[in-house]
């Protein structure tokens, strides 16, 4: 016998192996580590000018024309003379905040509603699922915008609105998982042993049904940042000057195309915040993809 490791540890190692066997996971995690580093060390990378609220981007002057990169502003300044480098660095924190907050609340709501729906069944299930269907009929952004308009402008309001929209996805996944697992032999075996329904739910069904929700949640962290950026672009997000990638693109909206003789003159106003968003979303999507492969019980063991 080789050295004895605890089986849970062995299983965990195997999961890690399955995740990192996938090259896209390595790229995804590298990007994520990079972004996390930037977010954590933001005060050192770009020391805040206003100590009371570091999220406000510093700006020198109010000229609407962006200025190209210089030694002082290595990524240049965008419309309103906000420093793009500072915005990109502190925007990372904002992106993490949006993504994780929104997805966390949406999963909590979605999983609980899904569990109730799948567990109670019958008329309750029917009512919940029809409500979810109705919410599904409204486009994400329209619904989120309606909620933001009702609550008022602000980043926190956007986050709440998005979680109130996103949970509907998880309800369906959780419920269908529960319905499939309820018919599994090991659940039946537990019933034969006399384990009560609630215990079966907690011990056998939820832990096995949660994986698809987790994979989905990881992927949604990225896409929620996009939606939030879109709303910022429409002017529904954070107040002017807040370090937020969406906001920065919104500031640069008049400079997407430069003057006729040099259309790419203001590239840095769009490419840098836009690139940040793309890479951030890509990181989460790649990770989500790798996790899906790693967790899939069908291909996990042969």
């Amino acid at each position: 016998m080789e050295k004895k490791t605890h089986p849970r540890l062995k299983e965990f190692k195997y999961t890690l192996y399955r995740i990192f066997r996938n090259p896209s996971a390595i790229i995804g995690f590298t990007l994520l580590i990079f972004f996390t580093g930037v977010a954590v060390f933001a005060p050192y990378i770009a020391p805040p000018k206003y100590a009371h609220d570091p999220y406000i981007m510093p700006h020198k002057g109010f000229s609407p024309t962006p200025k190209p990169p210089t030694k002082e502003h290595i990524f240049g300044t965008t419309s309103g003379q906000y420093d793009i480098f500072y915005g990109a660095v502190w925007g990372t924190r904002t992106a993490f905040k949006i993504g994780i907050f929104v997805v966390f609340f949406a999963t909590v709501i979605g999983v609980s509603v899904g569990v109730i729906s799948g567990y109670v069944g019958g008329i309750v299930d029917e009512i919940i699922m029809r409500i979810v269907d109705i919410i599904f009929a409204i486009p994400t952004v329209v619904l989120a915008m309606a909620i933001v308009v009702a609550f008022g402008r602000g980043l926190d309001k956007v986050m709440i609105a998005l979680s109130l929209v996103l949970w509907r996805n998880y309800v369906r996944v959780m419920r269908s998982g529960i319905l499939t697992l309820r018919e599994m032999d090991y659940v039946q075996a537990a019933r034969v042993m006399g384990v009560s329904n609630i215990k079966i739910m907690i011990k056998h069904i939820i832990p096995n049904a949660i994986y698809p929700v987790m994979v989905m949640a990881f992927m949604d962290i990225g896409s929620m940042v996009i939606v939030a950026a879109f709303m910022a672009f429409l002017g529904l997000g954070a107040p002017r000057g807040y370090a937020d990638w969406g906001q920065m693109i919104s500031l640069a909206r008049n400079y997407i195309v430069g003057p006729a003789e040099d259309p790419l003159r203001y590239w840095y106003t769009i490419i840098i915040p836009g690139g940040c968003i793309v890479l951030f979303v890509l990181a989460w999507n790649l990770i989500g993809d790798a996790l899906r492969d790693a967790f899939d019980p069908k291909i996990r063991r042969k």
Binding site: Y14, Y17, R18, K302
Partner: protein, 384 residues
């Protein structure tokens, strides 16, 4: 009897997280023309991997790493022998379903749920028999003076001439893509459907001309397996490989399918390679049997010899552990389980479970010995 297919020293490995699974360790077998060869063994012994290696359809992460699979198109004549492991993928594609076809355990997985039965059988004809069918249609076209508008008939004749000459011609591919011109295939499809009806009539399915228009979900399990057999038999293969073809069916349905295979053997198919874990099926349908254990072939013999006079300890034990009508009392069983092929036992792979294990069994791998005519055993108990 002349040989049909001969595999020699096939080695197939699977590269997994746990390590290299040595699924086949130099396995060789010979299927004769007109014979039914049964390959038996427990699950995980490599019998499926063996035939998949012979057909070159081993799934990822498996790799065929050595050996030879020689197919004799015309008896023993060496010049017409082909080593399948050396051929191109295109060659194999043409071979599978045409000269060698396979049926699998699960008919539901083998049939496409959104295609009608007729279309699924026709597919095989359209893929492998385009040339021949086009020739026949050409004859028909020139024979009958039907109502087809004359230039159209001309066009059809030209196209079918091309098809009869080279079915993969570029012009035909283009014509099949252009909406109105693609109608030229209609006759071809009609012909294929007609052939499909003929083939399922042979499988004693009632009302064949109606069955071809039905979909798999309309049919019962036994019926579906018949359709799968029909697809396999469509092109009159030289060898039919049946991989656990009846093990998911009920006893009475299994009896029907086995009778059918026996009947077909007399009329339609040259040889059958039957893979099963059920020794009863082997005893009833096969002429020759190979017993596999943990990626090795332990014993090959004619069916009477193997069942009446088994030589390898594994074969003996396996035969004793099968429930029988006549036997009374406790069932004999083989202790332990099939070894993990990542780290197979040294020497003879059966030695940890063998009641006759000797010192030499742990060290060296036994060679295959012919102990009597046509009876091969790989065991140290028998010395040359």
């Amino acid at each position: 009897m002349p040989k049909l297919i001969q595999a020699e020293d096939v080695v197939t490995n699977f590269y997994t997280y746990e390590g290299v699974v040595k699924a086949l360790n130099k396995v060789g077998l010979v299927v004769d023309h007109g014979a039914t060869f049964g390959l038996v063994g427990e699950s995980g012994c490599g019998k499926s991997v063996m035939v998949r290696s012979m057909m070159r359809i081993v799934q990822e992460p498996g790799q065929i790493e050595g050996g030879k699979v020689v197919l004799f198109f015309n008896g023993d004549q060496q010049q017409e022998a082909v080593d399948l492991l050396q051929q191109s993928e295109a060659y194999m594609e043409d071979l599978r379903g045409n000269h060698i076809s396979m049926i699998f355990q699960e008919p539901n997985a083998a049939l496409n749920p959104i295609m009608s039965i007729g279309d699924q059988i026709s597919e095989s004809f359209l893929f492998h028999r385009k040339k021949e069918m086009s020739k026949k249609i050409l004859e028909d076209l020139s024979a009958d003076d039907c109502r087809v508008f004359l230039p159209l008939k001309k066009l059809q004749q030209t196209l079918y001439t091309i098809a009869a000459d080279n079915p993969k011609s570029f012009i035909l591919i283009i014509c099949s893509k252009i909406p109105i011109l693609s109608l030229w295939q209609r006759r071809l499809k009609r012909e294929a459907l007609q052939r499909s009806i003929d083939i399922i009539r042979k499988l004693s399915i009632s009302n064949p001309s109606e069955t071809v228009h039905r979909y798999p979900h309309n049919l019962s399990g036994g019926m579906k397996q018949r359709i799968v057999i029909a697809i396999a038999l469509a092109c009159h293969p030289m060898l039919l490989i049946a991989d656990e073809a009846t093990s998911n069916l009920d006893v009475t349905i299994q009896a029907q399918i086995l009778e059918l295979l026996k009947d077909l053997k007399k009329t339609e198919i040259a040889s059958i390679l039957l893979i099963t874990h059920d020794l009863g099926i082997v005893a009833e349908t096969c002429d020759r049997v190979g017993v596999m254990y943990a990626g090795n072939l332990c014993e090959v013999a004619d069916v009477e010899k193997l069942f009446q006079n088994p030589q390898h300890p594994y074969t003996k034990a396996l035969l004793e552990s099968v429930p029988k009508f006549s036997q009374e009392g406790r069932l004999r069983s083989i202790d332990g389980a099939v070894p993990n092929l990542v780290s197979p036992p040294s020497g003879c792979r059966f030695h940890p479970r063998c009641s006759h294990a000797m010192e030499i069994c742990k060290q060296t791998f036994p060679e295959e010995i012919e102990i009597e005519e046509n009876h091969m055993v790989a065991c140290h108990l028998y010395v040359k």
